[in-house]
């Protein structure tokens, strides 16, 4: 498992430069959830050591913001108004020479999530998060065991619930 400061730094450094304004606490937190889920699907365990909680608005914890605030020499943590007029926390990398300590497999999972996430506006991004098996199959206000959920998901796939049935033959 990687340290949160390394994961956050890697996301901030590798997110497309023209989209970096999107990197709010909410988006980065959910990206880490997706990277954890992606890595669990590949039987490699979570990338982070976050104990995920299914809150009002999907998987959410304060760990990411706290970790960014703990390292002011690496991160700038600021605030901005979102399109609805509420305040959102924005992360920026301060020390671009910082080298995140991550394994290749961890980097691969995060890269995958950066690729998927950076192509989506907020609504579609959130829809994707809500469509993942741990959220789709869990109750709100519960902790999510991503390792167990990945095993359950594989079983469902094996039972062919997650593959489309054969197309009906044409008359």
């Amino acid at each position: 498992m990687a340290n949160l400061k390394d994961i956050i730094a890697y996301i901030l450094q590798n997110y497309p430069s023209n989209m970096k304004h999107e990197l709010s606490n909410a988006r980065v937190t959910k990206m880490i959830y997706l990277a954890d889920w992606r890595n669990c699907l590949q039987s490699k365990g979570q990338v982070s050591d976050i104990e995920w909680y299914f809150d009002n608005f999907g998987p959410f914890v304060w760990d990411v913001k706290k970790a960014a605030e703990e390292f002011p020499e690496i991160f700038d943590v600021g605030s901005e108004k979102n399109m609805y007029g509420s305040t959102k926390t924005i992360f920026q990398i301060k020390d671009d020479s910082f080298k995140p300590d991550l394994t290749n497999s961890e980097k691969k999972s995060i890269d995958h999530i950066i690729g998927v996430s950076s192509k989506k506006y907020w609504d579609n991004f959130i829809k994707l998060v809500y469509s993942t098996h741990p959220i789709a199959s869990s109750e709100r206000y519960s902790y999510l065991n991503l390792g167990e959920k990945a095993a359950e998901y594989r079983e469902l796939k094996d039972a062919q619930c997650l593959t489309p049935p054969p197309s009906p033959s044409k008359p």
Partner: protein, 139 residues
């Protein structure tokens, strides 16, 4: 693949999501998906006989049967279609008691509910979770 969007019950234990994904080519779901309406009030009371019934009538394995949180004795399923008559969802009513509902009454109520449900789903479709989309993204 059919995905359980919401599950409601006055009994909080039964309201918890059990299986959340269902193959649309087996079980009661497949029958309603093909025929518009499916009603079964003939589930045996005895668990062993009920498991055998699930296997023979619906192709549901004993392992899956044993994992069911709710062992229903009555199931009704109504297909929900969009304006072009394409199936978009199913409404499933289950009871742990046989004869809890009269088929004609339930069918009539669910036919009305299916129209309302279709309108709601069409309005909200862009915001509803789509597990197949997550699967397509490698998630």
């Amino acid at each position: 693949m059919v995905f359980c969007l919401v599950r409601k019950s006055y009994n909080t234990k039964l309201e918890k999501k059990g299986r959340t994904f269902f193959a649309d080519h087996e079980g009661c779901i497949a029958k309603a998906w093909e025929q518009d309406w499916h009603f079964d009030n003939c589930f045996p009371e005895n668990d062993l006989e009920n498991a055998a019934y699930h296997k023979s009538k619906y192709g549901i394995s004993k392992k899956t049967f044993n994992q069911l949180t709710m062992r229903s004795k009555l199931i009704a399923v109504k297909k929900v279609v969009d304006k072009n008559d394409r199936p978009i969802a199913l409404i499933v009513v289950e009871s742990t008691k046989s004869n809890a509902f009269v088929e004609a009454n339930l069918k009539s109520a669910l036919t009305i509910a299916a129209t309302d449900c279709a309108n709601l789903l069409m309005v909200w479709k862009d915001h509803l979770p789509t597990p197949s989309a997550a699967q397509d993204e490698g998630l």
